[in-house]
Structures are given as structure tokens and as C-alpha cells.
């Protein structure tokens, strides 16, 4: 029963969702309240997620409360976490989500940190590109050549060396051909494969063959 009931619920909701997406009558079906059934289902998902967040917050207090009480290693971070959680919750209730004090930790701490982490990507790209572009075989040589042309097609110096008015449209012309023809063909083949993989996975879940997520027997 532990596996059968969740499977039946997921099967029923998958069938309902499929019908809502595929059939005109179901898609347009409006309830007595005036809301579309499709929107009401989306709201139900939002409410479930909210309930999960509430449970998660309670669990967070339980686990980190224990960390502090038992003075486990790095318990100071638990104090920091719970203090911030309490601060944001109280300020959110007092000021709403647009209040300046509520938004301050987000705008002044979180956003700059997030942007800093993102900017580190530039250095990682440089080191990864160095390894990738070392010519070890024919494939790597082709990739290096293609990357060089695409790069030159994107920077002003490329236009100076081999301009768009010259043979084959210069670096820019060849770059556009690489992106439009071989790159697009490869990308579409990968996308088609992903689409089929997704469908096969969904079919397995729908037929009840994939039940790993339902836990142990």
C-alpha cells in the first residue's frame, strides 16, 4: 500500500494534467468560482509547496536547536542561521516583502555575494578553455579552429583582419555559418534525444515501472 497509493494518485493527476493540456474542453473548463481548472491545480501545487516550506522551517529549528544545545562542532553557524531566519520571518510579517529593512540583507549582502560568485566563472572558463583547447587529437583541433573563428567573428579585431566584405563574409560570415549549420544540426539532434529521453522516463513513471522515488519496500 505504501507504494500503490502514491502511484495511483500520481497516475490520476498525470491523466488529468494530460487531458487539460491536450483537450480543448478540459483546457477551457471553468469552475463555479470563475477560475480555470488548470489554474486551480497550479494553485494547489503552490499551497503544497508552502506547507512543505513550513514543515522545513520547523525541522530547521529542531535540527539546529539540537546543534546549539549539544554544542556540536560549528554550532555557531546554527545560531547565525536561526537568527537570520527569525529576522527575515519577523520583518516579512511586519513590513511585508517590499519593506526596506526586510530587503536590506537581500540587496546588501545576498545579491553582491551572488554576483561575486557568478563573476568567478570568467576565471574558471579561462582555465577550462586552456585544457580543452590543447591539441591532443583531430577532434580537439577541429574544436579549437571552430572556437577561434567564432571568437574572431565576435570581436572588432576579427573584422579588421578579415572583414565582412571580403571572401566568404570574413570571420563574421564563417562564424554565422558555423552557428547556423553544423552547430544548429548537432544541437537539434541533442535536443531531440533529450526530448525522447524525457518521454521514455515519463512513460516509465506513468506505467508505474519507475518507483524508486517512492522509497523502500
Amino acid at each position: 500500500m505504501r507504494k500503490e497509493v502514491p502511484f495511483i494518485i500520481s497516475l490520476v493527476f498525470a491523466a488529468v494534467r494530460f487531458a487539460l493540456e491536450a483537450f480543448h474542453g478540459a483546457y477551457e473548463y471553468t469552475m463555479a468560482s470563475g477560475d480555470k481548472l488548470l489554474n486551480a491545480l497550479s494553485w494547489a501545487m503552490t499551497f503544497m509547496a508552502m506547507a512543505a516550506i513550513f514543515l522545513g522551517a520547523l525541522n530547521l529549528f529542531r535540527i539546529h536547536g539540537n546543534n546549539i544545545r549539544r554544542k556540536r562542532p560549528h554550532w555557531q553557524f546554527s545560531v547565525y542561521l536561526l537568527a537570520l531566519l527569525a529576522y527575515q520571518s519577523i520583518m516579512g510579517l511586519v513590513q511585508s516583502h517590499t519593506g526596506t529593512i526586510y530587503l536590506w540583507p537581500y540587496n546588501a549582502v545576498y545579491l553582491p555575494l551572488d554576483a561575486t560568485m557568478f563573476s568567478m566563472l570568467a576565471f574558471y572558463i579561462a582555465s577550462a578553455a586552456y585544457r580543452a583547447f590543447r591539441i591532443r587529437n583531430v577532434d580537439a583541433a577541429v574544436m579549437l579552429l571552430a572556437a577561434f573563428i567564432v571568437m574572431m567573428g565576435n570581436v572588432p579585431i576579427g573584422e579588421v583582419i578579415w572583414g565582412p566584405d571580403s571572401f566568404l563574409g570574413g570571420f563574421q560570415g564563417v562564424k554565422e555559418w558555423i552557428l547556423r549549420v553544423p552547430n544548429a544540426a548537432g544541437n537539434r539532434a541533442i535536443t531531440l534525444g533529450i526530448f525522447l529521453g524525457v518521454m521514455a522516463t515519463q512513460s516509465r513513471i506513468l506505467l508505474g515501472i519507475e518507483r524508486r522515488h517512492l522509497g523502500q519496500d
Binding site: A52, D114, M117, L121, S127, A129, R131, I194, G197, A200
Partner: protein, 277 residues
């Protein structure tokens, strides 16, 4: 302006009386039904012990055992992560197959296994799957719930948390499985800095080049899903990969025919009309 208002006021008519009047609607439904039937047929054949076509070898899969073996020899942990967007995401289901397989292998070899993720709901399922894998390996006591960690829900907070963990724990093998965004290279480079052997299986086309550049083995796109079936070594599950391949060949034939018809008679391309229906 009045033309737009008239068009907006026009009653929307269902296709064939019942289907939604959006492009590709009927073709998509047809493909979905064909896929479900094929999956069911191939699995039924496998269950009855009848012959199903062999599935192709996926080189990245061979690398899994190699990487876990290396970690075991070095006495270092194995790390696995994903940036799952949601509990019901398809790539998350594929991730779980790999998670169960790798956790079981690690449990069998007494190698420490660390799994990290960015979704609190997915984390609960991960805990359950890893616990079950240790149970199946006959080593339930070796399971440590603290090694199946939720890092952070935010993209870069999670990425930096994982990169920090990789730097501290220095795993000998790292598996990056699932759907990734811009953080892919941060994770792969963090693994590279500690000398970990890295296997990536990603279903995000934009991130595949980064993994190819930074990882030792990369499973591309649909190999993530096929690999998930492959690692289970279950002929019943493998039936789905066969179904997938049959639909793929059929779609390639349709694309080829569409190209030929477009070349011969661009005004009357009945294949494009069929697909758009």
C-alpha cells in the same frame, strides 16, 4: 486596431472537435501515445523473456566503476551532485537511478559516499534512496545521513557550498548528473582542482560544452536517461531504451522525408502540415 479586437473576440474552435487549437498538439499526442505503447510492449516482451533488440554501449557508464574503483584504492570519498529544479523533474528521476547505483557500489566497496543537492524536497528522497542502497549492499550501519546534504536552494550559494565541500573533502571521484545551469563549470573546475576523476551526465544542451571541456567523461543529453536505465541492468527497464531508439529512428525518417518533400515541392509539404497539426 479593430482587426486585432475582432481577432481577439473570435471564438476559438477546437481541432477535430476536441483537441486544443495550438500547433503540434495532435502530433505531440500521437507521439506520446506511440511512446507509451512501445515502452509497454518492449517491457512486456522482456518480462516474458522474449528477445528485445540490444541497446548500444554508453562509454560514460564504463567510467562509473573506474571512478569508484579509483576512489576506493585511494581511500578518498566519492561525491555526486545535481542542480535539480524540482521534485517532479525528469532529470531528477534519471539522477535517482544513478544515485542508487553509485551509492550501492560505494557501500559494497566501503567507500565514503557524499551526495549534495539544491532542493529540500529532493534531499528527502535522496536520503531514502541512499539508505536503501546501503541496505541492499548489506551494510545499513555504514549509512551516514550527514553525507546526504542539502546545501542551499539558491544557485550560486549551492554552487559555492559544493565547491567548498569538494575543496575540503577532496573526493577522488565526482559525478555531476542532472540538469545544470551556469554553475556547471564552477563544479567541474572545483573537482579538477582536487584531482578528482569526473563523470558528467547532463541534459542541458548549453552546459554540455563546459562539461566536455572540464570532465574526463561526459554523457550527452539523452544518454543521461538511457544511462539511468543501463545502470539498473534490468532488462525490463532497458525495454524503454529500445522504445526510445525506435521512436528516434522513426523521427529521423520523418525529418529526412520532410527535407526531401520540401526540396521537391515546398508549397505542398504534407509532412510539415502533419507535424504542425
Amino acid at each position: 486596431m479593430s482587426e486585432f479586437l475582432l481577432a481577439a473576440a473570435e471564438e476559438v474552435v477546437a481541432r477535430l472537435g476536441i483537441f486544443r487549437p495550438v500547433a503540434n498538439c495532435i502530433f505531440s499526442i500521437l507521439i506520446s501515445i506511440v511512446m507509451i505503447i512501445l515502452v509497454y510492449v518492449m517491457i512486456s516482451r522482456a518480462r516474458r523473456g522474449e528477445k528485445i533488440p540490444e541497446i548500444r554501449k554508453i562509454p560514460g557508464i564504463e567510467a562509473f566503476e573506474e571512478a569508484i574503483g579509483r576512489a576506493t584504492e585511494m581511500g578518498k570519498p566519492v561525491h555526486m551532485t545535481d542542480y535539480s529544479t524540482a521534485l517532479g523533474s525528469d532529470s531528477t528521476f534519471a539522477y535517482w537511478s544513478f544515485l542508487a547505483y553509485i551509492a550501492k557500489q560505494c557501500a559494497q566497496y566501503d567507500t565514503r559516499f557524499i551526495a549534495t543537492d539544491a532542493n529540500y524536497l529532493v534531499n528527502v528522497v535522496n536520503q531514502e534512496i541512499v539508505k536503501q542502497a546501503y541496505l541492499e549492499a548489506g551494510k545499513p550501519d555504514a549509512y551516514n545521513p550527514d553525507d546526504v546534504r542539502f546545501i542551499a536552494g539558491s544557485q550560486f550559494a549551492w554552487a559555492m557550498g559544493v565547491a567548498g565541500l569538494v575543496g575540503r573533502e577532496k573526493p577522488a571521484a565526482q559525478f555531476l548528473v542532472g540538469y545544470f545551469y551556469a554553475e556547471s563549470l564552477i563544479l567541474a573546475e572545483a573537482g579538477n582542482l582536487v584531482g578528482a576523476i569526473q563523470v558528467a551526465a547532463a541534459s542541458s544542451p548549453a552546459q554540455i560544452p563546459f562539461f566536455v571541456a572540464a570532465c574526463d567523461y561526459t554523457m550527452i543529453g539523452e544518454e543521461l536517461y538511457a544511462g539511468a536505465a543501463y545502470v539498473s541492468r534490468d532488462p525490463v527497464i532497458m525495454g524503454t531504451v529500445v522504445a526510445q531508439d525506435i521512436v528516434r529512428v522513426s523521427l529521423y525518417v520523418i525529418v529526412l522525408l520532410g527535407g526531401i518533400v520540401q526540396w521537391m515541392s515546398p508549397e505542398n509539404n504534407f509532412i510539415t502540415t502533419f507535424i504542425n497539426f
